[in-house]
Symmetry: C2
Subunit: 495 residues, 2 copies
Amino acid sequence: MFESAELGHKISKTRFKRESPALREALLDAQYDLKQAAAFPVVILINGVDGAGKGETVNLLNAWMDPRLIQTHSFGPPSEEERERPPMWRFWRTLPPKGRVGVLFGSWYTEPILRRVSGNGKQPELDKNISEILHFERMLVREGALLFKFWFHLSKAQQRSRLTELEKDPATRWRVTETDWEHYKHYDKFRRVSQHTLRETSVGDAPWIVVEGKDPEYRSLTVAKALLAGMRSRLDHEPADSVAALSETPPLLAPIDGVRVLDCLDLSQSISKDTYEKALEEWQGKLNLLTRQAKFKKKRSVVAVFEGNDAAGKGGSIRRITAALDARQYQVIPVAAPTEEERAQPYLWRFWRHVPRKGHFALFDRSWYGRVLVERVERFCSQADWMRAYSEINDFEEQLAESSVVVVKFWLSVSEDEQLKRFEERQKTSFKRFKITEDDWRNRKNWEAYSQAVHDMVERTSTEHAPWTLVEANDKNHARLKILRTLTEAIEASL
Amino acid sequence: MFESAELGHKISKTRFKRESPALREALLDAQYDLKQAAAFPVVILINGVDGAGKGETVNLLNAWMDPRLIQTHSFGPPSEEERERPPMWRFWRTLPPKGRVGVLFGSWYTEPILRRVSGNGKQPELDKNISEILHFERMLVREGALLFKFWFHLSKAQQRSRLTELEKDPATRWRVTETDWEHYKHYDKFRRVSQHTLRETSVGDAPWIVVEGKDPEYRSLTVAKALLAGMRSRLDHEPADSVAALSETPPLLAPIDGVRVLDCLDLSQSISKDTYEKALEEWQGKLNLLTRQAKFKKKRSVVAVFEGNDAAGKGGSIRRITAALDARQYQVIPVAAPTEEERAQPYLWRFWRHVPRKGHFALFDRSWYGRVLVERVERFCSQADWMRAYSEINDFEEQLAESSVVVVKFWLSVSEDEQLKRFEERQKTSFKRFKITEDDWRNRKNWEAYSQAVHDMVERTSTEHAPWTLVEANDKNHARLKILRTLTEAIEASL
């Protein structure tokens, strides 16, 4: 992997001076075309060996291209807010929108590699990280991102001589830190671990570009040319084809006996008002006590998803939960149309924004499942897009679960008759009329298609770490209690 | 202040039931009109005594209005990322955009009041906070926000009986926490401090609405009616008038001898290449060492503003600074046109977003001063808007300085001749052509107006905590060194 980056590549200053003006101009053109089309983001990862010109390359990109269209992010130790979320949260925060270039100095590769090199992480952990990275990058690419992964390399001898050289000159001595020498000591292991990681992640969607870091002219021209070629090729071709071609679309099989998960619910279950009120107070009390435990506040958080038929009672159920919580502890996120900033990002970006800190609840009134429900049924996105959403969603929820988030998901199910009754009631009551729109009546006509979509969704996304709870919601008391109890028990089990 | 909220206000359940449907409907209508017009945000502060129905009111608002158009935020102890910024940063983060309702449960009042009650803060500190709050709220209102400040009150006896009552019933015992009793012990002091704070901040722009919290029906109707009246009155009138009327527009006086700050610069200063290169490396080394000190990393951060004539060399100066920094330590923010999300917020919101954490630099390539420069000269905003910007900017920078941010501001000045030379050079060099646009030529024609704007800006915003440094930039070497030196010395002085 690194052999060809130890050959002592070099180009003359004359050639550099001759070639760079045209290259700079072409890069700027590409950047403006990118901005104009605003069809995809460019993500540039800068990784590699210390002293191999990573920082200089970041400066070069900002000097050669229009810095107003570049966002550079470097990653030091995570902040408290970052540590309280899944490791990928900090990277989601910094993804560039469509039409822009994002330079990530250090990236999702840095921590896994360094943990393995330092011995704090074992090989299976690294391999798990690698597999997560592969999923994440595939998602990015399918969302349209143009991903460049640069690895700047120096041989051991080159690194040593570079550090020594800098140290000799009093004027540049400050550029060498103790950490640099510390890393140098681990050069061999670093090289081995990096090589393994690079090999495993150098896939068709997003191959690594290894750059020999010694000669500044060689390094700069290599990076600039790779960027230009990649951007031009993407800008000059219809991206739709290539992206669509990437998405496999495995067939979804309907159950051959026609029985779907929702058909098996006993919607007639109900609970009397008295029993309900007593039990409600009891479960609310229990939930409240759990969320006040030190362990919960420091180590757990909750993501709860509320999906269901229109008028199934999502809002009312959510309020029965929030009534038991300290208001500083929760956030209700009603999922509406995405904003401009959100539309310029991968689909899941707007949900990552709301991943809660430790000790906090995020209650989603509708959620990322819109992709495989309304967007699928109403054909707001392509089949390839909603088909890949299942596994992307599973990845997302797995990351939540692995960073100690309790993930609970509710599907509130009402019968067609009960829904009609509620629709009519809403239309009669002036202050409830806002809850019912043309869309609701239209969705009702697609009852069959939605049922199939719900079936597939439950089938494909009810996982060990984030199972679906189907809620019989014809009786509101029953539904509210079941939800409250399920949530409370899930939290209890996690403590 | 609280007397009328201790009268035992009460309304019957019958009246509540009779009045609430129409009220709910009207509130929903107002909410949709608000969304439709998207002309201003509604900010609702929920404060007051424990047990007076604050949480219930938040739930009520979400139940009565369309929760998809409401954002509720509650404020517990600040997170690390929040503590590393000025105290107001967390509130800026949560302001609702135009067209939406933001409910802030706990607010910028909570901390100052509690600090004073607990004895951790003295009276002068509270009074300073009050004055800052007044400035902040005035800014909000002038930016168009409709601000409601609700204070929920209970008399001491009422609070006691409410807590006792809840504790008697095993089913509701969990609702009473130790903190509640702790607060009860300090009731008298809390009342005194709150009363003082409310009186001082109950001003024309944003008066307090004190609500007796005991009777739920009274409380709910009071809040709903106040909201409705406020929203309707604003929605049904041209807001432009009222907001404009609020903004005083003090006259700016040009110096009677015609001499302006920029006229006094000696633009002929220059530095030879050799001297420059040696000094550059030296100052970069010094800067680098300073930023690696533990004290800097833990307690200081830097906000640097780069303004100047077009082609004065802002980008090049910034890169001479970043070359000395660890890439994880800085963020360059090129200020371009605001995004949709940014346009829906007060003017300074998009800069608050970038306030750096401890140990970090935010380098602004153009800044909030656009308001009093290009927006003033090109009439992109009203005179009232840019006139009030001076003091709002001073408030902003003062908050930065007070939370240990080193604020440095550079105006890079070139002569008309030098600028022309650079423009022509840029047009000749293909890869520099992007740096020169129609706007630049247009701005050049307004040289005189810009000079006046710069003069006023320096005059009005060069403060003790955030002074302007005027940089003679005809010679790039001189300019870059002066900037690097000024920045380094400012950091040094702060440590």
